[in-house]
């Protein structure tokens, strides 16, 4: 059943349409029916969006939903509910599940789980290699036929350059992008954090920045050689941003994403804020949080459009996965429910333009994986076509309290931090699916 909703008086921001004005948005019959000033609709429920931003539903290119196989960390139901509350109406699910979608039948079973349990639109990503082991290619054509939007072995890079070249060539022929976790693991021993002053002080093994840059450079050359669409997952270093900029200047179809965590935090989060090193396992993420210089380069790259998308890399874990010695702790940050808050806090601080932030959460990611071809209107507010709308209060202040999250993953280094900017309401398929309690919409 669809509501008739009138989202009144918000700042309607749709970078894809070049729209930025205080307008009303009418949602009816499952779609955005009209955008304009002074709209009226008999019997419509009115959402007062004064002071708020009204944008297309957010699109996430990189999330770990954990089901099947790791239901103690998260399920499709819990994690997509968390996505919903974070303003994400379309989510691409990474294939590091058990079993992993490396062939048609496994993919089909996952698509079925999604159909039954997902609270937001979910697009699956297929494996590059069988069981993500990096040895033999997955059934790429079968996966493409089954509806994957990209290929990735995320969590581990495709180490073998010959295999990577072949995977890119096949992906190109199938018209799909390959999203690569760029790292050169041979350069470090499962580095638990960024290699630098902090890792050396704490006595932790580190991942050098060059391990990312080396892989990015290699993969760009392989993409150039095959003509494939290469998407660099979660860039974290200044040099990787430069390499992507060079690739784009060459006209190569290379895109990339950055996580809110890497935009907002640095390696200092591992050491904690006090005088004693905290070894905060909630700040352990792969690739690791980098230096302040890297963080600033990521923000610049995002502003300049070198970075196309903000992707969460939402990675929920059970408490016991993190409540161990730092080097034994699982990698990953639960991010859906804090992502918008961190991004809009950066905007409130003047570190990121709000228009650019919205683009990187909507049209940018949709374009990377060609998602509008699969679900028309995704990533934009096109009257008669688009179905998803998010309402954000950019001035709302709140304190991160993971205990209250719906995600099974409470693993965030942001607990107790004050953020500025919160999602207030989310409309999917023309229906108001969630609104923040106490919000006056």
């Amino acid at each position: 059943m669809n509501d008739i909703l009138l989202v009144r008086g918000g700042r309607v921001l749709d970078p894809a349409a070049g729209l930025d004005a205080v307008l009303d948005v009418l949602v009816a019959n499952g779609v955005v029916a009209a955008i304009g000033p002074g709209l009226e609709a008999a019997g419509a429920r009115v959402l007062d969006a004064g002071g708020c931003i009204v944008a297309p539903g957010f699109v996430d290119l990189h999330a770990h939903l954990r089901e099947p196989g790791f239901e103690q960390k998260g399920t499709i139901a819990t994690e997509t509910e968390a996505a919903l509350r974070g303003g994400f109406t379309t989510v691409c699910a990474m294939p590091n599940t058990r079993p992993a979608p490396d062939c048609g039948p496994v993919l089909e079973s996952i698509v079925d789980l999604v159909r039954r349990h997902a609270r937001v639109r979910v697009f699956p990503i297929g494996c590059v290699t069988r069981e993500r082991a990096g040895k033999e290619l997955a059934e790429l054509a079968e996966l493409a036929a089954g509806g994957v939007v990209a290929f990735s072995d995320d969590g581990s890079p495709v180490a073998d350059p010959r295999l990577m070249r072949n995977a890119l060539a096949l992906a190109e022929a199938l018209g799909l992008p390959l999203s690569e976790h760029c790292d050169t693991p041979e350069m470090h021993t499962s580095g638990a954090m960024n290699e630098g002053a902090v890792s050396e002080r704490l006595g932790l093994s580190g991942q050098p920045a060059a391990a990312e840059a080396t892989a990015v450079a290699r993969n760009i050359e392989l993409a150039a050689a095959t003509g494939a669409r290469l998407h660099i997952a979660h860039v974290t270093t200044a040099r990787a941003v430069e390499l992507v900029a060079e690739a784009k200047a060459r006209g190569l179809p290379v895109t990339c994403e950055v996580t809110p965590s890497h935009l907002f935090l640095t390696e200092a989060a591992v050491a904690g804020d006090g005088p004693e090193p905290a070894y905060d396992t909630n700040a352990k993420i792969n690739p690791p949080l980098r230096t302040e210089a890297d963080r600033r380069a990521l923000l610049r790259g995002l502003e300049a459009g070198v970075i196309d998308a903000i992707a969460t890399d939402h990675a929920p874990h059970a408490v016991e996965d993190k409540l161990v010695e730092f080097e034994d702790a699982a990698f990953g940050i639960s991010c859906f429910e804090s992502a918008a808050g961190t991004v809009f806090t950066l905007a409130a601080r003047g570190e990121l333009r709000i228009e650019r932030a919205i683009a990187a959460l909507t049209s940018g990611p949709a374009a990377c994986f060609g998602l509008a071809e699969r679900a028309p209107g995704v990533g934009r507010l096109e009257p008669g076509v688009s179905r998803d709308v998010v309402v954000i209060d950019p001035a709302a202040e709140w304190v991160v309290d993971p205990a209250g999250w719906v995600s099974k993953g409470k693993n965030t280094p942001l607990g107790g931090r004050r953020l500025t900017g919160a999602v207030r309401a989310v409309i999917i398929d023309g229906t108001l699916r969630w609104e923040r309690e106490g919000a006056s919409v």
Binding site: E200, L202, G203, L204, E276, V324, E325, F326, E327, D328
Partner: protein
């Protein structure tokens, strides 16, 4: 009841020990370090008595919890605890991997539940004592964690230096070897800098920190160099670190032979240090690698003294920490 604390430990300018745990040396103040040294002097006096034992920590239970082998450090703590009349429980966690179902947190909570007051912990993972300390009311003394810190070693090294030099302020200390992976080097650098020493960290480029130079506001200066022959010139203290043979297998150094040529402390090199410079080594030593045999057993070697001082310093720390928890 604690027995005659005033006789055992002074008050070092009024400073009192307030910490539940001893996890590292970078957070220690100058006053706290001096309190440890002063208390260690009293303990050394106790050790020199015919019956080197006092009942000061009677009724206190000290557990040694070692996830990594070290007969020396464990024995030193055990002797220290028993010299103060404490009961000692020794636990060895077998294997080098984390055993499922018996996590570090479970273990320290169990030790606390059976009445352990102080847990001396060695662990192959950097930062493990912090995790333990956050999850138990018992005091944690870090007996060495991964490649991070070894605070009791640093304090006993400092105690040894101060006994000979009076003060380390303005003194030049060269630490040579695998600095990058050395918890001893890190903890020594922090304590020495805090007391105003000039510290040089020296070793092959692959075994030196590239970004990290410890800094202590108002403290001494720290420099990092690959040139040992220049670094040792005029040094008051030369401290050599254990070189692990696996560094060669891991491609960090071309050969032990090349390491010896560039970084072994031998008579010729030691001759370039200040007259009477102290030669130190945290042990266990690979004789003929870090030190040539003649200097290892020569007049300037303080290696055996370090071991003896280790007991006094650990007595001091156990005393300060246990006294705090019973105050």
């Amino acid at each position: 009841m604690l027995d005659a604390p005033a006789r055992l430990a002074g008050t070092a300018g009024g400073a009192a020990w307030t910490r539940k745990d001893l996890l590292d040396t970078d957070s220690l103040s100058r006053e706290e370090i001096e309190l440890v040294l002063e208390t260690a002097r009293s303990m050394k006096e106790v050790r020199s008595r015919p019956v080197a034992k006092v009942p000061t920590l009677r009724g206190v239970t000290v557990a040694t919890l070692f996830y990594e082998q070290s007969t020396r450090t464990r024995a030193s703590f055990e002797v220290a605890a028993k010299s103060l009349g404490a009961d000692v429980v020794n636990l060895t966690a077998s294997g080098s991997s984390v055993e499922k179902g018996e996590s570090l947190i479970d273990t320290v909570r169990t030790l606390e539940a059976i009445g352990t007051d102080v847990i001396v912990m060695r662990h192959f993972r950097s930062g493990a004592p912090y995790l333990a300390a956050r999850h138990t009311g018992a005091s944690i003394i870090n007996g060495g964690d991964g490649t991070h810190a070894h605070p009791t070693q640093a304090l006993l090294d400092l105690f040894t230096m101060v006994n000979h030099l009076g003060s380390v302020e303005g003194r030049r200390v060269v630490i040579v070897g695998d600095i990058l992976h050395s918890r001893v080097a890190r903890s020594n650098a922090w304590t020495l800098l805090r007391l105003g020493a000039e510290v040089t960290l020296c070793g092959p480029a692959t075994l030196l920190p590239r970004w990290f130079v410890p800094e202590v506001p108002g403290g001494g200066r720290c420099t990092v160099t690959t040139d040992f022959d220049r670094a040792i010139e005029g040094a008051d203290v030369v401290m050599a670190l254990r070189m692990q043979k696996e560094r060669q297998q891991r491609g960090l150094i071309p050969s032990l032979r090349e390491y010896i040529a560039g970084y072994q402390v031998n008579a010729q090199r030691l001759g370039r240090a200040a007259p009477g410079a102290l030669l130190m080594h945290p042990g266990p030593m690979n004789e003929g690698v870090e030190l040539s045999p003649d200097v290892a057993h020569g007049a300037q070697s303080r290696i055996e003294e370090q071991v003896a001082n280790g007991v006094a310093v650990r007595m001091a720390l156990l005393y300060l920490i246990a006294a705090r928890s019973r105050a």
